[in-house]
């Protein structure tokens, strides 16, 4: 099965970030192609997701190498083979500082068409610099996208065409798009890109094996606009609901008359999460991960799950949390019967913690520093044996190539911890809601107003902080670091595993009760 996912706009990118972590925990499909669509190339969220995507792919590549380090096929850690274009982001409008007038060749239009454009778009809208996105104007975005999508030669769209061709060849293909129903790029891109894909499918006479799914994010956050900027052109939170209402009416009619999606996943949030920083776009628009985005990513993973039988009828799924003010682990749905999201994510968090603070420090450095652990069972059976070079008769864990992998994983683990901490704090900030999925105060610090580094992770933990590990994930499982140490010493090693993949996978598997 081939799987493709496209995140549209900032929300789409953020949802992809959640999806990456879910795939790292083993919730994703075997293979997945990831792409993003955003006019705001420098968008902070998009950039963050791009970086995360690169880290994921690099780390996975290092740890799924038959010759050096191999987690093995059976390992759930970084299970999904994620691929992407060299530039994972597709800009609908290229060039420097594009405007709508340029895209529609306004000056070359016939008068009557010009007049129609004047009715639909005021001059400010026509002349708006679109390099930082469509500023919450789906009408602009839709027009721009319609003018530029479906170029088969385009690197991004060629993937879609190839996917559809694969379906024609008999292979099942599933494509999923995520975006917000409000705002700019997402609102404008969701329906248009979906319809465009469907058109290509029809053109290629692909009637079976091709399935399209989508996740629509209803309003789930808000922000305060400074007074001095109220006249500028950007997505205004007070307009979100109206936009949503109109959009839902549109989609309702669309789905009624035209089966574009096989499955649609709809979610939102109430009360809206309050974002502290207002930025119109660019790299300063770096919104925190929010819980409802996780729903979208899980919806996508559910769509891709092999157990998910897609019927001929269009299905619309919606999800929300429990009625109380507290967000619980039980609010996280399973991806499938065999893929328990809660367990996998909890496992990933524990893995990230224990790797970052307990084991990575022992594996970082030269051999002269690391060798003090050489007689410890975990090291002996999981690391030493698997990084031993028979030719040089030495353990090479301290060598540069191995150290790169160790450090890369440490960095990814920090990202996981920051992601979950940020999500937990930011989702409920300024609201009456509570979210205590994890206990993060003992290992991190949260600064709501910081754009780039809302969460800072402690460099080292003292003994009492380490002891709080058992309370890290509030899922009722009394898993201590001692249990993890015990598990890594006793878990059976998969014969196919190699190099550092042995240790990483065993540690990951040890992080469940």
């Amino acid at each position: 099965m081939k799987n493709f996912i496209v995140g549209i706009g900032g929300t789409g990118a953020k949802c992809l970030e959640h999806l990456l972590h879910c795939c790292a925990s083993g919730l994703g499909p075997e293979k997945l192609w990831v792409g993003m669509v955003d006019q705001d190339e420098a968008n902070g969220n998009v950039s963050r997701t791009k970086v995360q995507l690169t880290k994921y792919m690099n780390l996975r590549r290092s740890l799924r190498d038959d010759a050096k380090h191999d987690l093995s096929k059976d390992s759930n850690l970084f299970k999904t083979e994620i691929t992407s274009n060299p530039d994972s982001v597709w800009l609908p409008l290229g060039g420097a500082d594009p405007t709508l007038e340029q895209v529609i060749f306004y000056n070359n239009l016939k008068t009557e068409v010009k007049n129609l454009m004047d009715c639909l778009y005021d001059p400010a809208e026509r002349k708006q610099n679109l390099s930082e996105g469509f500023r919450g104007k789906p009408n602009i975005g839709a027009a721009a996208m319609l003018a530029t999508t479906a170029d088969e030669k385009d690197v991004f769209w060629s993937q879609i065409y190839k996917a559809i061709d694969s379906a024609r060849g008999g292979e099942e293909v599933r494509v999923f798009i995520i975006s917000s129903i409000f705002g700019g790029t997402g609102a404008s891109g969701f329906a248009n890109i979906a319809r465009r894909i469907k058109t290509i499918q029809k053109e290629k006479n692909v009637t079976t094996n091709f399935h399209l799914g989508g996740a629509l994010m209803l309003p789930y956050f808000t922000y305060d606009v400074p007074e001095e900027r109220k006249e500028e052109l950007f997505a205004k939170p007070e307009e979100f609901l109206d936009q949503t209402k109109w959009a839902l009416e549109y989609y309702s009619k669309l789905f009624e008359h035209d089966k574009i999606f096989d499955q649609v996943y709809v979610t939102g949030w109430d009360p809206l999460s309050k974002l502290k920083n207002f930025n119109m776009g660019g790299n300063l628009q770096n919104n925190p991960p929010l819980f409802s985005e996780l729903y979208a990513s899980l919806g996508a993973l559910k769509f891709f799950a092999s157990e998910n039988k897609i019927s001929d009828n269009q299905e619309i799924f919606h999800i929300g949390k429990n009625d109380s003010n507290e967000i619980l682990w039980s609010d996280i749905p399973k991806v499938s019967n065999s893929l328990n999201s809660k367990e996998n994510i909890a496992k990933l968090i524990r893995f990230a913690f224990s790797y970052n603070w307990m084991y990575a420090p022992a594996l970082i450095g030269s051999w002269s520093k690391i060798k003090r652990y050489q007689n410890e069972n975990w090291f002996k059976r999981l690391v030493y044996k698997n990084t031993y070079n028979n030719e040089s008769k030495s353990c090479e864990v301290g060598h540069e190539n191995n150290q790169e992998v160790v450090l890369a994983m440490k960095e990814y683990c920090e990202d996981i911890l920051k992601w979950i901490s940020d999500m937990q704090h930011s989702t409920v900030l300024g609201t009456d809601q509570k979210m205590n999925l994890i206990l993060s105060s003992f290992f991190s610090e949260y600064k709501a107003k910081s754009t780039s580094n809302r969460v800072t992770i402690k460099e080292k933990l003292n003994a009492s902080e380490k002891n709080q590990f058992k309370e890290l994930v509030s899922d009722g499982k009394n898993l201590k670091l001692l249990n993890i140490m015990s598990n890594i010493c006793y878990k059976k090693i998969n014969k196919e595993q190699k190099g550092l993949g042995v240790f990483m996978d065993i540690l990951f598997r040890s992080c469940e009760e």
């Binding site: 003090r372 652990y373 201590k480 670091l481 140490m485 006793y490 090693i493």
Partner: protein, 186 residues
């Protein structure tokens, strides 16, 4: 829990490697003295031959009780060795070794535990051979006492040590002397 059972099983295997000698000896002693090298050994080395000669006491008068004493002594030592070894093997799973490098710290705990074991063994030997509880203990001479104490300490310590080396939880092996030399997957 399964790991604890595994540890205890390994511990029993380790104990058995040397323990069979003790079991055999205890069984032979419970059977009583006969015309054997063991009886001769007791008659010539263990008992206070000179004093018995002064009292004109033949070894046959004391042999039965002495053998019974030694059998009970060895049985007690066997039991305590097995219990202590299994106790450490199971208990090692509860040592708070939660990070790399921490197992070594528990070497002190093992030393203390082993010290307690040796003290108990010594105490049992002294109780059986020196106290007034067993009448036949008075027939054991100074040399015999030294031999019994020395051999008991050495033998039961080795038995305990082998049991502990094999039975200690993998992650706690650095707390036991030389246990970390065992293969990682054992």
């Amino acid at each position: 829990m399964i790991n604890i059972f595994r540890s205890c099983s390994y511990s029993l295997i380790g104990l058995g490697a040397l323990g069979w000698i003790g079991i055999l000896l205890t069984t032979v002693m419970f059977a009583g003295p006969g015309d054997s090298a063991l009886t001769d050994f007791f008659a010539e080395t263990i008992i206070i031959a000179e004093r018995l000669e002064t009292f004109d006491v033949d070894f046959t008068y004391v042999a039965d009780d002495l053998f019974s004493l030694m059998a009970q002594l060895n049985l007690s030592l066997l039991i305590i060795t097995i219990l202590m070894s299994l106790g450490w093997s199971a208990g090692s799973h509860y040592l708070n070794i939660d990070s790399p490098g921490k197992a070594k710290i528990y070497f002190i705990h093992w030393i203390i535990f082993t010290g307690i074991f040796i003290t108990i063994v010594l105490g049992i030997v002294i109780f059986f051979t020196q106290s007034s509880t067993f009448e036949s203990a008075q027939f054991i001479g100074g040399t015999g006492m030294t031999i019994i104490t020395g051999l008991s300490l050495i033998y039961y310590f080795l038995m305990y040590y082998v049991g502990v080396i094999l039975g200690t939880a993998r992650f706690a092996r650095s707390s036991v002397l030389f246990a970390n030399k065992l293969p990682g997957n054992l």
